[in-house]
């Protein structure tokens, strides 16, 4: 009988214990995967940022606006291929004021050229450009409110008083999942005409696409140009911009990382406890094995082999559970309800690998001490306990 088979057979000796250990390991692996997935999902939007896009905003605060004339000045800068602008309008549906979505006043001529990941059918785009009161809506939002092409809808703004009427001209979809499909785009011109005097001729931010120079370099040129003017700007490439927002949550991510370390500790303890209990009960057997010629290294292999088998089985079960719970249950729910926050929520192969490696490594570490004890048994002492 090979050593491996002996190790595997040992698992069937106390089935309840093996099953419980496997369950314990799988729950720990599931929790570990869940936490890793949260961290990954948090950062994925920044990873998918378009590399050649630069966002320029007010240097002091995002709630203050830039003069519209800055757009032309940005366009004239060397390295800027094209530029567009947007303004946070703060729209709400009067009958569903608790439903959050983004409403942006944008330039109809250039917006969708810069944001190529938002796809609008060409005839809808043309119709929207013609109608000053027109809006383009994310398909998910249109679905949520039951808006159809041709509808007239009323929106209110949390910033600008009054009820505003708009015509739904079409919907957009995203080329990637990180594209928020719940945004409303209205004509900046239409808003600007009716805006109170203090808000006229203002834009929230300017987005440029670069060519011939790195985004960082172009951003520096932009900021330098406005440095001598009354209102200064800060320009960041899109990934940096996203990350500076995420930095506000860095302590949560730190805490999650800490907790996922703690869960590994628990995993190790569940495994180690089981192995230690097994070794304690099998001392007489080890004596017999040693007496008939097995070496201490064989015993070590026997104990570690059993632990690793448990780790692998528990890990695999945890992965299976993880795919069901994370991808099918939580992931689907998040996608349907708050796709804006977590566009992706699934187990990546990297995290799955990490979980497996962790449970195997912990199985080795956790069984090291019991294995060492088994190998150091004196045959005479062990045999004395044979009943």
């Amino acid at each position: 009988m090979s050593l491996l088979r002996l190790a595997a057979t040992n698992l069937f000796r106390n089935r309840l214990r093996s099953i419980l250990t496997m369950l314990g390991v799988s729950v720990a692996v599931l929790t570990f995967l869940l936490l890793r997935t949260v961290i990954w999902a948090w950062n994925v939007a920044a990873d998918e940022a378009v590399p050649d896009r630069v966002v320029t905003r007010h240097k002091v605060t995002f709630i203050m606006t830039l003069p519209k004339r800055y757009v032309e000045e940005v366009r004239a800068i060397d390295g800027v291929r094209e530029a567009t602008w947007g303004l946070w309008w703060g729209g709400r549906e009067p009958n569903h004021t608790s439903e959050f979505f983004a409403t942006l006043a944008v330039d109809p001529d250039t917006w969708f050229d810069v944001y190529e990941e938002m796809i609008v059918p060409p005839e809808d785009l043309a119709a929207w450009r013609e109608d000053r009161q027109g809006i383009i809506v994310g398909d998910l939002l249109a679905q949520k409110f039951g808006w159809e092409k041709g509808d007239t809808v009323t929106l209110e703004s949390t910033i600008y008083p009054g009820d505003w009427q708009f015509h739904v001209k079409g919907t957009y979809v995203g080329t990637r999942k990180t594209v928020d499909r719940q945004t409303v785009m209205l004509h900046w011109d239409y808003f600007n005409e009716q805006a109170p005097d203090t808000f006229k001729e203002q834009v929230g931010w300017i987005v440029s696409r670069t060519s011939g120079a790195t985004p960082t370099e172009v951003g520096r040129r932009i900021d330098q140009k406005f440095d001598v003017q009354d209102i200064q700007t800060v320009s960041q490439d899109e990934a940096t911009f996203q990350r500076s927002f995420l930095a506000g949550f860095s302590m949560i991510l730190l805490a999650i990382n800490f907790v996922s370390g703690a869960i590994l500790l628990i995993l190790g303890m569940i495994l180690g406890n089981t192995v230690a209990m097994g070794v304690r009960e099998r001392v007489p057997e080890y004596g017999v094995l040693r007496a008939i010629g097995f070496l201490p290294s064989h015993l070590v292999a026997l104990v570690v082999g059993e632990a690793v088998t448990l780790g692998i089985l528990g890990g695999l079960l945890g992965l299976a559970l993880g795919y069901v719970v994370i991808n099918l249950l939580i992931g689907r729910w998040l996608e349907e309800n708050i796709s804006g926050f977590f566009p992706y929520f699934n187990v990546t192969s990297w995290n799955a690998l990490l979980a497996m490696v962790a449970s195997i490594a912990l199985a080795v570490v956790a069984s090291a001490f019991p294995a060492f004890r088994a190998s150091r048994l004196r045959v005479v002492d062990a045999l004395r306990r044979v009943g």
Binding site: L16, R17, L20, T21, L23, G24, V27, A28, L30, T31, L34, L35, K59, V60, T61, F62, I63, M64, G90, R92, E156, S157, T158, I159, P161, T198, D230, Q232, V234, S244, F245, A247, G248, F249, S250, M251, I252, V259, A262, I263, L265, I266, L267, M269, I270, G272, N273, T274, A276, M277
Partner: protein, 389 residues
């Protein structure tokens, strides 16, 4: 009843396994207690804002101060409304404030950018916020280019130290002259300047974000609210300070509680299974003892109770250790972006009675769940069979 000393002695016989279970439970309770303390800290910090029993007025339809814009000339109308408390000289107790956001570089990461709330205040602030106190330097002089910073962020961002200057508008530097506290409220994560200085720096001349008033007594809020909201031309909305504070903390505190509870439940499940395993092994080893106990007259329910108690006891030791480990978290400050105000706030972990009760209940629950099945098995053993082995 089987004496507890029996359980205690059994636990010390298999010390390694007992310790493993205790440490597992302690880790789970530590995580649970920490998140509960943070959630309590968030609610508590924000609820300390203001003088209690006051009211806040913002533009109708705005969720927060940032998007609320009120004409300065409406402030007089608001302060003259019924229900507003007056001081001995007949002056209404209330003030208009302007709330803005500035980007600052954290002292720990000078290349990063983070949002910090900035507030324009007038001389009335000390009467509206009774807990306000200068703890370093001095109060800013009215109408000057001076600023004071909350204790929670002083030194945490570049230039936020007494004697340094910040520049919300080019060539209009504000000199930091003091550090203030406000009874531990979220105001301590803000920068304050003179209202006119802040307004002109942000191009908001003649506007305020919110108006805060003291009420004669809490019951006069209804009259105040009716007066404010009846005048449709004002386009304003009134709420009590409590309601306002809840609105600011709601999302963050629900988010933290949900995250913490989900993690703790999964975590707890792992620890319960571990505990169950130990308990099964320990019962299997005590088969003869169990048989003997039955033979000398203890009933099934005595055994069930005894083993459940043993399991709860182990869990409680772990739970108490976990909670004690969580207590020093009170020394740490937790920096997080509040979704409602879009600015970073600093919170502390706050140990409350509710936190301990919840952690304790969770611990007992873990002990009961982990011990139930093994205890049932022990209770079901036939004394004859058990002793035969």
């Amino acid at each position: 009843m089987i004496p507890l000393s029996y359980n205690l002695r059994s636990l010390t016989v298999r010390l390694t396994s007992t310790i493993a279970t205790v440490v597992g439970v302690a880790l789970v309770v530590f995580v649970l207690a920490s998140t509960l303390m943070l959630s309590a800290g968030i609610q508590d910090t924000i609820s300390r804002n203001g003088g209690r029993g006051g009211a806040v007025v913002i533009r109708k339809g705005s969720d927060n101060e940032l998007s609320s814009i009120i004409d300065q000339n409406k402030v007089g109308t608001i302060l003259a409304s019924p229900g507003v408390k007056k001081d001995s000289s007949g002056q209404p107790l209330g003030t208009g404030e302007v709330a803005m956001i500035v980007m600052m570089a954290p002292a720990s990461d000078p290349s990063g950018l983070s949002n910090v709330q900035m507030r324009g205040i007038d001389a009335n602030v000390e009467r509206i916020r009774p807990n306000f106190e200068i703890v370093d330097g001095r109060m800013l002089s009215p109408g000057s280019d001076e600023a004071i910073v909350g204790r929670a962020i002083a030194g945490r961002f570049e230039h936020l130290t007494v004697g340094d200057t910040i520049e919300p508008k080019k060539n209009r530097p504000l000199k930091v002259v003091g550090v203030f506290t406000d009874g531990g409220s979220n105001m301590e994560s803000e920068i304050w300047g003179d209202i006119d200085t802040v307004r002109s720096a942000f191009g908001r001349e003649g506007l305020v974000s919110s108006v805060r008033v003291q009420l004669e007594d809490p019951s006069s809020f209804d009259a105040f609210e009716t007066a404010i909201e009846a005048d449709k031309r004002l386009g304003l909305e009134a709420m009590t300070e409590t309601e306002w504070n809840d609105k600011q903390s709601q999302f963050l505190s629900i988010f933290m509680t949900a995250l913490g509870t989900t993690v703790s439940v999964f975590f707890g499940l792992g620890a319960i299974i571990g505990a169950m395993n130990t308990m099964y092994a320990s019962i299997a080893n005590r088969q003869k003892e169990i048989g003997t106990l039955r033979a000398i007259g203890f009933r099934r329910r005595h055994l069930l109770l005894s083993f459940l108690l043993e399991s709860v006891l182990v869990a409680l030791v772990g739970g108490v250790i976990g909670t004690l480990l969580a207590l020093p978290m009170g020394l740490f400050r937790f920096r997080i972006l509040n979704f409602v105000t879009f600015s970073e706030m600093v919170f502390t972990f706050r140990p409350t009675v509710a936190v301990f009760v919840t952690a304790l209940l969770f611990t007992v629950g873990m002990g009961l769940l982990g011990g139930l099945l093994p205890a049932i098995r022990a209770a079901r053993m036939s004394p004859v069979e058990a002793m035969r082995d």
